[in-house]
Amino acid sequence: MHEMSLMESVVEIACETAVSHGAKGIRVIRLDVGRLSHADPDALLFCYDAIRRGSLAEEAALEINRIAGEGWCLDCEKTVPLEERFGACPECGRSRVQMTAGDELKIRDLEVI
């Protein structure tokens, strides 16, 4: 359940950013969470509910933008979709694939009041 720590960090960064921009409250927090990252979006939402109470983000919706996994296959010499972090290339079946997307764990933007 390291999602709890991740969401504490999200709420902290969001509130600090909102305060430094003189906002009175946060309406939406948008995250980029890659499909191959180590965080589970359902767990993030669950933990968010527990953590936002009493903060500037109390009323804020959490939008999680899932980013599909992609990798560069050295054998096919092109970008291929990746279903798992260390998965094989879906076209040639070999494992020489370097992940290029899907590992994101980022706060993209905030909507504030």
């Binding site: 390291h2 960090s9 764990l105 706060i107 504030v112």
Partner: protein, 308 residues
């Protein structure tokens, strides 16, 4: 928030001294606040004086020359019907705070020539037994200190102290991992000597500690042969984050159907650069290879600090 008691961000640190043992040290709550102010200073007057000025909500910037710019807001765009101050681009990694503290730990350790290893594993893989043996056999050759992470109890720190090393215990309470903030405070408490070796024994958990950089030189994943060859495939994040794998309890191999080659092959699939040591912390088999690596790496770290 501190998940131990809800008091702040500090975990409980037991440094084995009288004022620390078993007690809460809540006298030093450091909160690092960030000050990334991005105020618009292009207009000479501020419109945000309170509620009575709310009708005067500007989403554009007045310049001295009279030009009005609608693209100078925080979002850098003008969206009809939406005041642009309402979107703030953040674009920051969720773990950026931890990563910054980890970088500070790493710089502090590097400067003092301290070689730090972060030991991670599932519970019961034999981390503490491994560390205790290393301390007993190496304490004449190098100075070792230990940071022990567990949810509860100081048992592991006591085992380490009995083996002959200074240790501090961090109890994470409900926490499932150590983070760079806790470790930074533990380093302050422990004050490892220059050119020494620091072992950080993380909370027994093959998932969460993978995400949190503590400022260590290497993550060392300890896997015992009673756990099954497919662990590296089941928990790839941890094996990808580690540089070293220690395959422990090798004395039990004759009694098991464990395929060592297959286990290493699985680990190499998720991390082709992973280096493996096969040891038994109980009998001492294979430990010399690990010691040779440790001594060489620590000496290199100490030499690098001297040059810098």
């Amino acid at each position: 928030m501190c998940t131990v008691c809800g008091c702040g961000t500090d975990p409980v640190i037991d440094d084995g001294t009288e004022n620390g043992a078993g007690g809460h040290k809540h006298d030093h709550h450091h909160h690092d606040h960030e000050h990334e102010h991005e105020h618009e200073h292009e207009h000479g007057h501020d419109h945000d004086h309170g509620d009575h000025h709310d009708h005067h909500d500007h989403d554009h910037v007045h310049h001295e020359d009279g030009a009005t710019h609608y693209g100078k807001g925080i979002a850098g765009v003008h969206v009809p019907g939406m005041s642009q101050e309402k979107i703030i681009q953040v674009e920051r990694d969720i773990l950026s705070k931890n990563d910054r503290l980890a970088a500070a730990n790493r710089a502090h350790l590097a400067q003092r020539g301290i070689f730090a290893l972060n030991f991670v594993s599932s519970p019961g893989s034999g981390k503490t037994t491994l560390l205790a043996r290393m301390i007993r056999e190496l304490k004449e050759r190098m100075e070792i200190t230990v940071i022990e992470g567990d949810q509860q109890t100081s048992n592991d720190a006591m085992r380490i102290r009995e083996a002959g090393a200074r240790a501090v215990q961090i109890n994470t309470g409900k926490g499932c991992h150590l983070d760079a903030h806790m470790v930074g405070h533990a380093i302050e408490t422990l004050e490892p000597a220059e050119n020494s070796v620091l072992f950080i024994e993380n909370v027994g958990n093959l998932v969460c500690p993978a995400a949190f950089d503590l400022g260590e030189a290497h993550k060392v994943v300890v896997l015992s042969v009673t756990e099954g060859e497919d662990k590296p495939l089941k928990y790839p994040d941890m094996f990808a984050a580690a540089d070293i794998m220690v395959l422990n309890k090798s004395d039990l191999l004759p009694h098991l159907d464990f395929n060592t080659g297959l286990c290493i092959a699985n680990a190499m699939r998720v991390n082709p650069k992973l280096q493996t040591f096969i040891v038994s912390a109980r009998t001492g088999e294979g430990m010399e290879a690990l010691y040779a690596w440790l001594e060489a790496s620590a000496a290199r770290r100490a030499a690098a600090a001297k040059v810098a």
